[in-house]
Each structure stands twice: as C-alpha cells, then as structure tokens.
C-alpha cells in the first residue's frame, strides 16, 4: 500500500517540473554503479552513506532487497532493478523508484550477489535506517527485531541512533537494548561490566535472558581442576550430582570403563547362548537377576565379555576426578558482575511476581465474592442452602447472551443485561422461594435436596434451549486488553471491572443492610424470626425479598463471569462448590464474613497455584483439603456470629 502511494507520489513528481531536482534512488546507485554491482565489505559503506544522506523513503526496501539478493542489473543500460517473476526465459524487472514492471529476456540481466560480509553490513545499515525511521512504530519494530535476535553488529547502529531519538520512551528502550547488547557482545571488560550493572534496574525478560546467557555453564570433568577456565562451582558426586550420573560422565569422556547395564548384560547372555545353555547354565534358569549375573561372571572369567565394574572401582574413579561447572564466559569479572546483577534483578522480579499474584488473587476473590454473596445472604437469613444458586448464575449469563443477540452494541447490551439479569434471576429466586422453599423451612437438609432437584432441571432446561456448546458473551471493546504496569505485572480490564462490580455490591449490600428499613427488618428476622414477627415484621415478606436480592446478585455475577469465561449450562455448577466454601469459611449471615472467605480462598488458590503453576487441579485439591482442616479450627467460619444472634 505504502509502496503504491510512493509510486504515485513519484509519478506526480516526475510530471511536476520543479521536483526534478530531487535525487532518486537509481541516480545514487548509478553514481556508485561499480560498488553496487560488485560490492565489497569496505566499498559498500560509501553507497550506504550516500543513501543515508539522501534520506530516501524507499532506501530501506532497496537495502532489504539487496541483502536478500533480489537486485539485478540490466546489462543493456546498466540500471538496477528488483527482480520479479521469471517465466519462459523472461524476467520481470521492477523499477526501484516507480515500481513499474517490464519484461526482458533472462540472459540480459546479471544478478548482484553480495557476499556474507557485505550482507551483514547491509543488515546493519538496514537496522540503522529503521532505527532512525520517522515513524515511531517502525523504530519500535526494529527494536523488537533486535531484541529477538541480538547480534554484535547491531551495537554500532543502535548507539548512533540514540542521540537523535525524539521519543523519550523509545530512547529509554534503545538505551536498555544497547546495554543488553554490550553486556553480551561488548569488546572490553569494563564496558561489559558497566553495561551489566546498568541492567540491574529492569525486570524485563530479555535483560534477564541476556544475564543468564552470560552465566551459562557447562558441566565438565577433569583429573585436576584446570587453571584456564572460569569455574562456577565444584560438584561433589553424591551431593550436587548423583553418583550414577557422575560416573556416566566419566564414561562419556572416556576416563573410565562403562558399567555393564542390564540391557548389555542381557544382550551378552543372548549372544552367548549355545545349545540352550549360557556358559554351561541352562537358559530356563536365567529368570532372576542373580542367576543372570552369575552366568555373566562366568562368561567374563572366560574372557568373552568385559568384566563387571565393581563399586570400589567406581569409588576410586569418582575420587580421582574433579567434577565442576565452568562458565562459557572466560572473564571472571564479567560473570561476577552478571551474577550479582542477576541476584538483584531476581529480587525485583520476585517482588513484581508477588504483586502480580496479589492482583490475580484479588480478582479471583472478587469473583468468588460476587458468586457467593447471594448464597451467604439467603443462607444467613433463612438457614437455607440453595443448591440452585449456581443455576441462577448461569441464568444471568444466558440473559446477557440473549440480550447480545438483540442489541448488537456491546456496551449498551451490557448496560441492559446487568439489571435484566438481576431481574430474571431474582424473579426465578422468588418463584422458587414461594413454590418450594417456603414449605420446607424447618427441614434444611431437604431444602438442600429439593433445590438440587431444581438445579438439575434448570441445567438440563438450559441445555435443551441453548444447546451444549459454549456461548460467547462478548465484552465491549473498552474492556479488552490489559492494564500493564510492567512486563510482569498486568491485569485485564475485565477483571478490574469485576473487582469494581464486587466492590459496588459490597457497598450496596452494606448500605441496604445497615441503613434502610428493609435491612433493619432483614437483620431482625436473621436474629430472631419469632420476635421480629411479633414486632410487626412479616418474616414471609422479608424471606421473599432476601431470596430475590440474593438470587438477583447471582444473576449479575453470571454476567460478570460470562464476560471472561464461556457461557455453558454447567458454568453454575462449576462455581457452586467454591461458593459454598466461601460461605462456610467466611461465616454465615455476614457480608464481611463472605468477603473474608472470598479473600482467603482467592489468595489461597492463587498461592497454591503459583507454587505449582502447571497443575491447577492439584491446587484445587489442596485448597479443599485446607478448608476441611480449617473447619476443624473454626467450625463457624472466620467471622462467626456470637451470642443470641448465633441462633442454635
């Protein structure tokens, strides 16, 4: 696209008589035609300098083509072209300035073939072009490509481009990258040590990679410790490396005879089978290791196979040699500096990872809080476990999905979906309370089972209506992406939104419970339904309202969860056990308790996950075990109601 535009602009220039003074690429090349056609490492510098000085926009493309051996010369007029497609002995020549193509016979052109040295120079020049490109994106791109394939040749162009860099952030990035390059490829020890120390302030992964590359070691073995290596540490067999491994290394180096492995033993025996016997022993009896060893020893005594290596011989060989790890880098000053810097960096990385973990835990906790708070309210006020709570979460999520089918604007649909999900799930909750739970108030275990019946019915119903495959609930564009603090610490905007939502509902619930008439009545019924009833509060109405609010919040939680996870008919079931845990750990009937429970479980889950990141299943297992043990010590949860309010 850009090339097309340039071609157009150039074509315009050609027609405009005043623009003729502008130098084009071809004329510069013609000035140095010999150097271009047969480039040498030294001579090519002149061409590049001129190109740089002219500042032509298509120069980088030309350099890239040149480097890729795509440039040809037309022997008829000596002009240079980019080679196009070949067919039937004809080749398309593409004009370097206009981009116009022309077909000529293939034998009329000669290829320009820069050698390896020249191509490296060209590559450096290309980097320099890109590094001083007027467009910041191109400069960033160039930096990324350097970081991906660091190379000693890039130090020079990078250093040159730094003073003219107008954007501060890019300049800092260039400085950092230069440090990394010098640290690895610098010429003098002082320069490298200085660069290494300069890397101490960052936590970026490429800086750490550079440092650990400097610190790469090779494990070696020798009769005595050589003087000319930069020893990282001495390895003691049996402690730092296993004896088997150490001896294996000796064998690999040809410093000791190989032990007879089980496989070798077997092969030797098989090879020695004669008339159903091995060294006089019948084959049938060789079905134990001891019998096989005996047979082998007999063979070895006959000199047919190498003898066993005894443990004493192994011991002697191990003590006679020294095992050590040596740095690939020979200069101890550099490795020392790198090690110290890496330690400092690791400390910062650890801190950053902890911060990241804390953010993750916070967002997980807010999800658990949203999912569990509705359950906690109904459980606290009515002593009723609602197994269908997860299905109210699912209902909310599907409400969001359905709204998105009708309202294509994601922001607007979210604004509609949140209250609608509250209403739908809340209405379902009230219906359930009126039809089922009301009749089971004094039978909590049966409530649990009845609501479970509702739960499987609702789940299957959702499956019948929406199908089994996951439905997407797309977040609006402004919730995409991450809030990045640095390379290690980041949190997606959706999770921040969920956190805000959770905080909002925490505030709202606290307000309702502590500052409104309804809240007063809810608290009264929680503490003593009989007394509340005699004070003129209708417990029936309060129960209904509580159930409505609790289920409604589950609906909202469903929308929130649907935004980052898929909406399926089983999504509620996935959260229900965690929600129970949150309620049980936190303590029943208390908003703060649920908050504490969600916090504890969120932090704990992330903590265990971080100890063994590959295995989230194990993390959940251990967390549940922890909760079982936790219940031992605080059977009523973290925030337990005391006194009369505690009921039984």
């Amino acid at each position: 696209m850009r090339r097309l535009f340039l071609a157009l602009a150039l074509a315009l220039c050609l027609f405009a008589p005043t623009a003729v003074v502008a130098q084009d690429l071809q004329s510069i090349l013609q000035t140095h035609a010999d150097e271009v056609a047969d480039p040498g490492r030294r001579s090519v510098g002149v061409v590049i300098d001129d190109l740089l000085a002219a500042g032509l926009p298509n120069a980088p493309d030309f350099l890239a083509a040149w480097q890729d051996r795509d440039i040809v010369r037309d022997t008829a007029d000596g002009r240079f072209y980019r080679a196009g497609r070949t067919s039937d002995g004809q080749i398309t020549l593409i004009d370097l300035d206009t981009g116009a193509g022309a077909m000529v016979p293939e034998d009329r052109v000669e290829e320009v073939r820069p050698n390896g040295g020249v191509r490296r120079v060209l590559g450096g020049a290309l980097v320099r072009f890109r590094l001083s490109d007027p467009a910041p994106e191109v400069r960033r791109e160039a930096l990324t490509s350097i970081a991906r394939r660091p190379d000693a040749d890039q130090i020079e162009p990078l250093t040159q481009s730094i003073p003219d860099e107008p954007v501060a952030a890019i300049r800092a990035e260039k400085d950092r990258l230069r440090n990394i390059l010098i640290a690895r490829f610098g010429e003098t020890t002082e320069a490298r040590v200085e660069a290494i120390e300069g890397l101490g302030g960052t936590v970026s992964s490429d800086a750490r990679a550079a440092l650990s590359q400097i610190l790469e070691t090779e494990e070696r073995v020798a009769a005595t410790l050589p003087d000319d290596v930069n020893v990282a540490r001495i390895l003691t067999p049996g402690e730092d490396i296993s004896r088997v491994e150490a001896y294996g290394r000796l064998v690999d180096e040809g410093l000791a005879p190989a032990r007879v492995s089980d496989a070798a033993l077997r092969d030797a025996l098989i090879a020695a089978i004669e008339d159903g016997t091995v060294a006089g022993v019948p084959v049938e009896t060789l079905d134990t290791d001891a019998a096989r060893r005996d047979a082998y020893v007999t063979l070895a005594e006959a000199g047919e196979v190498p003898p066993f290596v005894t443990e004493e011989e192994v011991d002697a060989a191990l003590t006679d040699h020294v095992f050590f790890a040596a740095y690939d880098e020979d200069d101890p000053a550099i490795t020392d500096a790198a090690r110290e810097t890496l330690e400092a960096v690791d400390l910062r990385v650890g801190a950053a990872q902890t911060a990241d973990l804390a953010l993750d835990a916070l967002s997980l906790a807010s999800i658990y809080f949203l999912a569990a708070i509705g359950l906690a309210i109904t459980f606290g006020v009515m002593g009723v476990i609602n197994m269908a709570h997860g299905e109210f979460i699912m209902m909310g999520a599907y409400t969001g999905y359905v709204v998105q089918q009708f309202v294509p604007d994601y922001t607007l649909s979210l604004v509609i979906a949140l209250p609608l999900a509250f209403l739908v799930a809340g209405a379902a909750g009230i219906a359930m309370e009126r039809l089922v739970i009301r009749h089971l108030y004094h039978r909590p275990l049966e409530t649990l089972l009845a609501t479970f019946g509702i739960s499987i019915a609702l789940q299957q119903l959702a499956k019948n209506i929406f199908g089994t495959q996951a439905r997407p609930l797309t977040a609006p564009g402004w919730l995409d992406g991450q809030w990045v603090l640095n390379e290690l610490v980041g949190i997606s905007y959706i999770r921040i939104a969920i956190f805000v939502l959770a905080a909002l509902f925490l505030g709202l619930l606290l307000f309702i419970l502590n500052r409104t008439r309804l809240g007063l009545e809810v608290r009264a019924v929680t503490q003593n339904p009989g007394m509340a009833a005699s004070m003129g509060i209708d417990p029936d109405r309060i129960n209904m309202a509580t159930f409505g609010i609790g289920s409604g919040i589950a609906g909202i939680a469903g929308v929130a969860i649907g935004l980052y996870a898929q909406v399926t008919s089983e999504m509620g079931a996935n959260y229900i056990v965690q929600s129970f845990m949150t309620v049980v750990v936190g303590g029943v009937g208390n908003v703060w308790g649920t908050l504490a429970g969600a916090g504890l479980i969120g932090v704990l889950q992330k903590l265990i996950e971080s100890l063994n990141p590959s295995n989230t299943l194990a993390a959940q297992t251990y967390m549940i075990l922890f909760i079982i043990v936790f219940i031992q010590f605080r059977p009523r949860g973290i925030v337990a109601l005391r006194g009369r309010a505690a009921g039984d």
Partner: protein
Amino acid sequence: MAVSESLPLRPTPRPATAPSTWVFLGALAVFTLVVTVMASQGMISTAFVKTLGKTLCLMLAAVAMDVVWGYTGILSLGHMAFFGLGGYMIGMWLMYARTENIVAPALAQQPLPPTQDEIRDAIGSQIFGVVGSSDFPLVWMFSHSLVAQLALVVLVPGLLALVFGWLAFRSRVTGVYLSILTQAMTLALALYLFQNDSGLRGNNGLSGLQNIPGYEQVPQATISLWFLWASALALALGYLLFAWVVSGKMGSVLRAVRDDEARVRFLGYHVEGFKLFAFTLTAVVTGIAGALYYPQAGIINPAEIAPIASIYLAVWVAIGGRGRLYGAAIGAALVSLLSSWFTGGGAPDINLGVYTVQWTDWWLVLLGLSFVCVTLFAPKGIGGLVDLVQARRVPDRQGDYGPDKGAKRQEEGRE
C-alpha cells in the same frame, strides 16, 4: 395405648425376623432366580444382566446411604467417593493381572526367560503408557495380589471415612455444613484423581475391568451371571447387617442422634462414636458395592466420583423413602433403571405437535421436578406407600415430620 399394654413384655424383636427384611430377601432371591433362568434361556441380553447386577450394587450403596442419612441424620454428599475407591482398588488388581496375562507370554518368547522385574516393568509401561509414564506409582504396591487389593477395598474407604469422620464429628460440624464438607471431600478426591500424576491414570481411569484374569475363556454371559449372584449376595448380607445395626439399642441411639443430637449427648452417650461408627461402616459397605459394580461396568474414571454422583445417591434414597432400608433399595433400583431406560432411548418420544419431547433431553428435567414434588408432598418417598397399607396396624403416635415415625419406639421406651 390399649394394644401394646395387652402385650407381655418381650425383648426387642431381632431385625432379621422383622417381616420387611424377610420379604425383601425373599424378593431378592426370587429376582435372582428369575434373572438367572431368563438369562440362561437367552430371554434377556448379557448387557441387561449387567445392568441388573449393577443396579443391585447401587441398591446396596443406597441402603448404606439410608443408614447414614435416614437413620443417623448425616446427609453425606460424599458416599460415592467410597464407592469409587472400592472400584479403583479392585480395578487395580484386575488391570494388573490381566496385563500380566498378556505381557508374560509375549516376554516368554524372548531368548532369555524374563525376570520378575522385567515383567513388572513391561506391565507398567503397558498400563501407564497412556499417561506418559512407565513406572508403577507407590499406590500400586499391592496390585499384584488379589488378597491385598480385596483387603484394600475395605481398608481404603474405611480409613478415609474414619479419618474424615473423626475430624468432622470431633469439631461438631453438623447439618448442612457437614453435607458441604463431605461434598468438598469427594470433589477434592475427584480432582486429585483427574491428574495424570495421581498414579491412577488420570482421566483415562482404569479400563477393561470386565475381563476377569484367569477366566478369559469364560464368555461374558456367564461372568455377568456370576457377578449378578455376587451382587445379590452382597446386597442380602449388607441388608441383614444394616437391619441388625439399626435395630436394638444401637438403632435407637442412632435415631435419637438424628432427632436431637444435643439431648443424646446430655444423656451421656458418646454421640461422636456412634456417628463415626455409622459413617465408617456404611463407607466400607459402599466400597464393597463399588468393587462389585465396576467389574460389571468395565471402566472407572474420576468422573464417577464427582459430587453429582453422591447427590444422586441421596436422591434415590429420598425418593425411595428415608429411614427404611427397603425404601432406599427400591428408590435406587427404580430411579437408576428408569434413568437408563429414559436416557438409553427406551422411552417413546411424545409428539406435542409444535414440539417433540425427546426423553433423552427431558429426562433430567422430569427427574428434577419429580424429586422436588416428592420432597414437598411425599417426604416418606415410595416406601411411604407401605404405611398406607399398615396405617391401621401401627398407630401414629406423634404426627411429626420424621420419616419413620412409629417403628418400635414404644417398646424401646419400655425396655
């Protein structure tokens, strides 16, 4: 109560003589006989015999569940974990021995006769290749021995129940909390087993369990009958055991714990001990039921231990009728057979004109709703129908909402 006053004082009747026990055992014997005859005549398929055998195992688990829930009042939502563990324990031996029978002849073809270690390594790589490993994990330590694994069928569920129950009852976790906690236990176990490095082949589970080592030549039709008999025997013995447990003083204490735990404690009973006994004993029996179930099912994987399975167990008991052993058995048989009939496509679709109700899709909705209805309108479950028949013979003393009001309380009280 004129009727009871006219009776002389007599010891509490042994439960084995209670009419319902004999009726149940008789029905079970007749059922087994009929199935055996029908199967040997080829009137019912091997697959159906297996289904019936599995149903008997589920009935045993349900009876155990009834003791722990209906009699002791502990709504355990984790008993299927013990069921699954029993299955895993026997499955380990089945898989090991069968693989050995396959691997050993192959190794014997080699020039040198194989050592024990070589055979074991070959079995290991055969079994664990699917999870990218070839070594036997520690839990397979005894898998070569049928006796040891049979002992583990009893020991592993028993110990787990003992430890878990001790922890839970000691800290006086009761009611809904305990249910949630047991659910957490089974979830933790399922999640653990789902991992590939759990040593039990992760979500692949153990498979090929229907092949009984040493009896490869025997057709599945015969084996399925053997297992049916074994399951029926286990159910009969289990039923007798529990009928004995829930009768007499022991049964009275258990029911008292269910009805008012605090009061029993104040009367000087060690409530935790009784609960722990009921919990552990039922776990062991459930484990045995599982060990008989999975060879008939042929495969076991961690999904079988998921919390939902244990909830279904509670549903069967509730539908059948809590607090009476035959109720639980009937509930388990009825619901699990109906469930396989509906989900297996056996039930005809209903064409409503605008919409065709396909039972594979709607069965769970029906089950859920009918379960709600049973809880609401018939808390005694199907077993409650028996009361309608006996209503005149056993006076309703309390009019309470307990599932097995009446029973023998009056006589117990006089004792």
